[in-house]
Symmetry: C2
């Protein structure tokens, strides 16, 4: 069966789609009420709120699909602010002709990712547009902030140590290889980063700021932090973790892993005294085994520099141009 | 200037678009931080959370545009649960080729609607896809529930009086007339319903449930309520408010206002003792002047019936088939 415009009518066909596809998989006490909004009682006053839309093609790829991405992406944005992710909303824009079986697979994948990330999908919406059988998903997320710490780029100061939780470029290389029809074992690193963040905060590490490395790559993230912190950043090219297969892929195609997207990696700014312990904590987590200290924050101009393998130093700018379209 | 794929890269072009278009118009203390999520401190533990995507064509129409709709639609969903709307997130999916001036107009319209509805846009996201210069907007909304009342379809019981806040079909007829190139003075009724809901709750009216009348029309909404309440509903055809120009439009095209979408009307279920007072309160509000009692909840089978102008009675089913595609 394929999605038709009738599934977006708000009438009987919409109801059938919701009952058959969404209600069964996302079933929970709040969503089941099917009211205009979910009513929730929070356990604390301080929250984080975020939103992200996902337009990736192909819809499914080694290591994940658009549904897993839509949950992990928003969960990770909440985690980066030190929040404990709790609730997601999901807005689906379906293109006419989408196979119902494809949608069901995506919805199942979202539910599995939500379970792993310990979030509940409490509200949803479905629209149908003309098109070629594609799908866009928006997720908004609410997380609780259960500590008094003030995390954010503005807290970063000279001397802070920069830890990257694992290898660069995996999601980007995976999507690109798939589109180009290149056979490879490269998998997307799409994953929820709850464990890393929870363990860092529970251990009382002096974390100043965290960012997940997505569109625009590590280079763009570091420049945003340098700008907001009013400090410089220097990273060491030699220490950047890149998986061998991704490295070869980048060499052949002339790609720079510093500008490539991940979907399950974070960069973390930690006070120097806690750096070694923080690194050890990250490395003990499922998705942080490849973590490395990659550089530090330095006094001076708001710019990012790289110490190259040959010992030189170059300025690392943010991404200019297109990047890879529809990577997330 | 037109939107290009580079505006979705996450790099420099994205930053420029956000700085020039979104940051300036939506400027507020929270959004300006440009972190991965907005950090907020709520004044109470009970909240409502909702999401809605908007795919309407044309993007602009008499009485509103997709931006105004995206704010009002989500604000109204929060209000229907008795919540006081506070924060919105906004996810933009832009099609390549969209004129920047069009986007700026939509963003300005969102900001005006947000001001009227007393909500702050605290988080956002922008993606770019191939296409024909269109735009989709998702808004998620958070509202505070500052009372102990339990509103919802399950609270509705036999004897409750049904009040409709104004004329049916205006948004639907407006979009349809525009697409068909029919000259008319019909305007969309797109509006935030804060005043009506706040005044009803502040006066302590015995409100059981509220729903805004959107996709699927009043017929679909009433059937959903009857189903959830486990009761029957009877409405009086003669009492249904329809503006003369919308009425003529429907007659010519053979449309039934009961299945047509509004974007600024609500239907409200009130204990019989408070019905007259609740009606008076709604009629005093800017967007409720045309309010009418249209029927009541009755014991018996979970179905909706209409007493026709000739005194007969017919069953009113939910919308079957397509409705009008991309009406919201």
């Amino acid at each position: 069966m394929k999605i038709t415009m009738a599934h977006g009518s708000g009438g009987n066909a919409t109801k059938e789609l919701i009952d058959q596809c969404f209600k069964e998989k996302f079933a929970n006490r709040v969503l089941n009420k099917m009211e205009d909004a979910a009513v929730l009682t929070l356990t604390g006053p301080k929250i984080a709120l975020t939103t992200d839309s996902f337009v990736v093609t192909p819809l499914s790829f080694p290591g994940g699909d658009i549904g897993k991405l839509a949950v992990c992406g928003t969960v990770n944005d909440l985690l980066m602010m030190g929040a404990s992710p709790r609730y997601l909303t999901a807005g689906f824009i379906l293109e006419e002709g989408l196979e119902l079986a494809t949608l069901e697979g995506i919805v199942s994948s979202m539910q599995r990712a939500a379970e792993e990330a310990k979030v509940t999908i409490v509200a949803g919406d479905t629209k149908v547009v003309q098109g070629k059988g594609g799908i866009y998903i928006n997720t908004a997320g609410l997380g609780l902030i259960e500590h008094e710490r003030d995390l954010g780029a503005a807290q970063v100061t000279a001397g802070d140590v920069i830890i990257l939780s694992g290898s660069l470029g995996n999601h980007h290389a995976c999507i690109m290889a798939d589109r180009m029809g290149i056979q490879s074992n490269i998998q997307s690193d799409c994953a929820p980063l709850n464990e890393i963040v929870e363990n860092l905060l529970a251990a009382g590490m002096d974390v100043k700021a965290m960012r997940d490395v997505t569109r625009g790559g590590l280079a763009t993230v570091l420049n945003e932090i340098a700008e907001a912190a009013g400090a410089g950043i220097n990273i060491d090219e030699e220490k950047l973790p890149v998986d061998p297969e991704v490295g070869s892929f980048c060499e052949i195609l002339g790609l720079d892993p510093l500008y490539m997207a991940n979907e399950g990696k974070l960069v973390c700014f930690v006070g120097a005294a806690d750096a070694a312990k923080a690194l050890a904590i990250i490395k003990q987590s499922r998705y942080g085994q490849g973590a490395k200290v990659i550089g530090q924050v330095i006094a001076g101009a708001k710019q990012v520099t790289v110490t190259t393998r040959l010992g030189g130093r170059r300025i690392l700018d943010i991404l200019y141009g297109e990047g890879l379209p529809r990577i997330c």
